[in-house]
Structure formats: C-alpha cells, structure tokens
Amino acid sequence: MSLAPHTLTILAILAGAFFFMAGTIGLLRFPDPLSRLHALTKADNLGLGLVVLGLLFQAEGLLPALKLVAIWLLVLLAGATITQLIAHAARPNGSAG
C-alpha cells in the first residue's frame, strides 16, 4: 500500500540524478562558455525539478510540499534570467549581439 509513493520517489529521483549527470557531462565536454552554460542550466533545472517531484511524494503535509515547489520555481526563474546575464557577459568583446 505504501509502496507506490516510494517507487515513484525512487523513479523520479533517479531521473533527476540522470539529468544532473547529463548536465555535468555537457559541462565537461562542451567547447565554449555559452554551450557549457546551456548544459548547466537546462539539465540542472530539470534535475532539481525531478528531485523535487520525487520528494513531493514523501512530503508530510501541504506546507512542506508547497515549500519544495516554491524552491524549485525560484531556482528555475532565477536561473533562467541569470543565465541570460552570464551569457551577455560571456559574449566576446566587441560583438554586437
């Protein structure tokens, strides 16, 4: 009876861990800062999202669950915007965009 949440948690967190690994591999193998940035943020936001999803099944109560989702949203939105900032700063000097 209590097996389903545990299974879902394990599956989601395994998927999240896989995305963290994919992001890190992209980070290690991509040739320039912009593509590394891409790998970093896309995979990590999805990785964190799947980890949060997995933890939601274990959460005790509405408030802790909402806090988990709020943390994920914060990281997602902040990360997306800061990625743009970093990419803007990473452009080669003198390029017009």
Partner: protein
Amino acid sequence: MTLAMAFDIGLALLVVGVATWTIVAHNTFAAVVGFVAYGLLLALVWVRLAAPDVALTEAALGSGLTGGLLLGASTRLRRTETSEDAAELPAGALRLTAVGLCTLVAAGLSALVLLLPVPAATLAPQAMASIAATGLGNPVTAVLMAYRAIDTLLEVVVLLLALVGIWSLAPDRVWDSLPGPRHHADSEGFLTFIAQLLVPVGILVGIHIFWVGSDAPGGEFQGATILAAMWVLAMMAGLVDAPPVSRRWLRLVLVVGPAVFFAIGLAGFAMAGGFLAYPESHAKMLIVAIEMPVTLSIAAALALLVAGPPERAPGR
C-alpha cells in the same frame, strides 16, 4: 564504511579542494568566486553536523553577503593588479612559511577536536532545561537573546562600528553623499526583471526566516542578511539608488536596533533585577520587541557595508 560516512568524507574532500583552489587562484575575482563556492559547501557541512542555524548563517552571511563585500573590494582593487602581477608575489620562502603555519594551526585544531572527551562537555542540557522560562522553542535563539543577550548587543554595535569605519574611508569633499557607483536601470533588461522578481520574494523569505527563529532554525541575523542582500540587489539593478549617508532617516534606522536593545536592557534592572534580565511572564514579548528593530538595523548596516564608502555627489 557506512553511506553517511562516505558522504561526509566526499564532502570534506570537496571543501578542502575548493579551499585550496581559492588560495591558488590567479586573480582576485576568481578567488572570490572560489570563496563563495567554499561558503556554500560549508553550509552543507553544517547541515551534516545537525546545526541548521549555523548553516543558514553561513549560506546567507558567510558566503553570500561576504561574497558581495569581497567582490566590491576586488573590483576596487582591479586597477592595482592589472600589470606586474608576477613581480608582486611574495617570495617563495615567505609563502612556504605561511603554508607551514596554516598547516600547524589546522593540525592543532584537529588534534584538539579529536582529543575532546566523549561525550564532550556541554551546557546543552542546562540550556534546554531553562528554555521554557524564555518562551522560546529554539535553543539557539534562547542562547542568543536570553542567556547571552549582551553578546548579541555588542555584536550589533560592532557592526555599526564597522560601518563607521567604512564611511570614514570617504574623502572629505564627498562625506555626505552616496555610496558606491550609480547603477543604471536597464528598463527592458534582464537584470531589472530578475530584481523585480527576486526582491519581493527575498523580502518574504527574509521575514519568514526571522519570524520562525523563535521556534525553529532561523532568527534575526539570518533574516536581516537576506533583507540586506535584497536591498543590495535592488541597488545593483538600478531599481533604487543608494541613500546619501547623511540622511537622518538612514542613521535612525541604523541606530534604532541597538538603542531599543539597550533600553530594554536597562529596563531589566527595574523589571527583573539585572541588565538584560527578562521577567518570566513577558520574556518572549520582550525578546520579539528587541528582535524586530535589531533586524532592521542589521539589515541596513549589512547592506551599507556592501555598498561601500560614499563616493559621489547626489544627482549625478
């Protein structure tokens, strides 16, 4: 070797690795990035040591805000380190001595910690036993605001003194003007967007962390640091400009915290027979009455510390 021990060993190795990288980094900016990374990892270490209050303080203050402070310093120093870097490095023998001394200190501290008797002598049981009298649920807050309140009062005063020290770095002609350079708001830009998104959220989080400090990990220093970081973020994005340091309201905000703290401390003579003594029936109310203005003052002081000494006239 249990899983927990493997995790802890991996974390410790990572912390040492990042610390080493920070020390050997080639320029100050890289070293500051390494320092912030090191601080974030230390927060994880504190969580593993079951000290979430310290973890909160490390993540917010030790890593985040101090990172901002160091970054400001490194930006100001950039002009002095652009050329002749290699010629300015200290001699090899001096660096070797520094490494040797640091290793000695680290080894000595490790030996002391490892030689502590098991279980180590601790006042935690007595602290927990008296906590009901303070009306608080978080023993760390009880220590900070009830058992050792005078230390907290002095810490706040020290923060103000540091701020005065930084302000005194300003040349006389700009003594009453704005700290830091003007950051221009890029009205359609990403920086404005992220600031408009983060600052309200951050203020909520800061107030939440401060408020739960009575019964759960958190408290005024952590909450104030988050509020300060949000103010600095708003300044960096150009949403608000730094206030001139001569403004009366600014100085009042800075002083109201320690003033209220001190006043309630003096009232303690009348109420419970000692400086900063609380009557048992009103202890929690008094503690919260102290914490609110203190949080405000600390937030303002920390934000102004990061903003730096006054350097430009208003209206420019």
